[in-house]
Symmetry: C2
Subunit: 306 residues, 2 copies
Amino acid sequence: MAPRPFGDTLAARVAERESQIVLGLDPDPGALWPGIGEPGSSPAASPAQRAAEAVEDHCCALIDAAGPACVAVKPQLACFERLGAPGRTALEAVVRHARDAGLLVIADGKRGDIDVTACAYAQALFGGVETPFGEVSGLGADLATVNPLMGGDAVEPFVSAARAAGAGVLLLVRTSNPGATDVEDLELAGGGSVWERLARLVDELGRSGVGDGPLSDVGAVLGATAPGHIERGRELMPRAVFLLPGVGAQGGRVEDLSAAFAPGRAGGLVSASRSIAGAYLAGGGDPAQAALVEAERLRAMAWKLG
Amino acid sequence: MAPRPFGDTLAARVAERESQIVLGLDPDPGALWPGIGEPGSSPAASPAQRAAEAVEDHCCALIDAAGPACVAVKPQLACFERLGAPGRTALEAVVRHARDAGLLVIADGKRGDIDVTACAYAQALFGGVETPFGEVSGLGADLATVNPLMGGDAVEPFVSAARAAGAGVLLLVRTSNPGATDVEDLELAGGGSVWERLARLVDELGRSGVGDGPLSDVGAVLGATAPGHIERGRELMPRAVFLLPGVGAQGGRVEDLSAAFAPGRAGGLVSASRSIAGAYLAGGGDPAQAALVEAERLRAMAWKLG
């Protein structure tokens, strides 16, 4: 039996949790919440093991604190990869903790490669791989970010693997960083820009992945720092889930995002990392309490819009 | 003291080994060399551990066999990531084995992300990260592939970290897959194509990374499947090292690559994976012997050109 299409899963989860907020997990071992990692594990553990355990504790505490106001977590794979094998173990534990808390998981790794390699990445991110030694599970992500520079054939294996697992993919379309103007905003000889072409790719790949509701299993990353792109993106990608990073630390504002929610509340996922985890730095007080207050503030603002 | 610039390191290594061949390591646990992984480790080991050990053995055997005809190895990070934490441990062991064999290491992960995240990836790939728990080493790669879709500010942290470690980066410019026409080949309103714009970015970023010799520490991935791109790429990037994948299984031919070697023999690195590891499947005989024969055949052809 085919799994439930991801768009329907997401719409149900957003309705159930009354939230479109994605809790970004970008742990820096040098800037964890106070008290985390201090006594630490056995002195025999390596720096990588101790740092990875502390990062895991930090992420789990953040999930416990702010998770109730969120629909998903978004671990930044780079932050775990820099801690080697213990980092991967920590990532898997954080993913389990998030699932147990009822949250969806967006693996933010921005992968992309040719056919067989894209299949291998998709195995790592979604269902896993059959080997002569038994099945090796993947991360079990519900969504993964994918870089489409190499074109459709480099993206399709991610879409197929996600669809088979009832998950989805989010292609980079127009990102939130200043350098997005270098390539993504270039104007094409045939009209439109590179990012608009990427948006069309999202729409094409997602057509066969729509469930009972309006949303597809191929979505887009659109920076929340430039609201005009969200309106234009919605014209080009009527069925796509938009992941909207850049709120808070990068300057994006929730109130500018309403076009994202045209196909329903699950049409836009508002991602915030530093503004939630670091809320106590600005306002003082308990990190967990400050994180919940900030996540709940974002949740209420976004929920009013869509 | 600043480390030796990567272009000079590479030129010296190519001269010493008389080779421009890069041994691709794309291990598939279901298609390892005969005899590898069969009795296996303790029965208590998980499928991921057993698969990762077998993959490590396979890669080390391949390095022992074909390494003498090569200048570098190129582990495909996806193939290790799909084996979880044991896969990362295997990757680190393979990297050590390659270094001990006198080979450079090209980490092929095609990463790319905004500033702080790019820094985290660079820590994972190159020198490592300082944490309150002690220093956590990175992979210690000599080169890493980077995806420039997000623009210059998403690439610069990789360049800085590589340069500080005496290593280099390779930006995706024009890849070897059919889908490269979808985005990379799009013609721009201002003239030229997306990939030519990426080539200019390589050239700009690399200007400050040239050593005593002609080569810079910012290079380009240019598919060996379309020789015209290599000539044009050399015009646009006179100082860049070109990584040339697509020889063999993907249809590229060594004899079409001579433009790559205009700035000297180290100007072009010819990458082959399946055609070396799987040489015994076509020709029969011992996998190790067949791999060496194929690697040596490629080495001699490329050496004659440049």
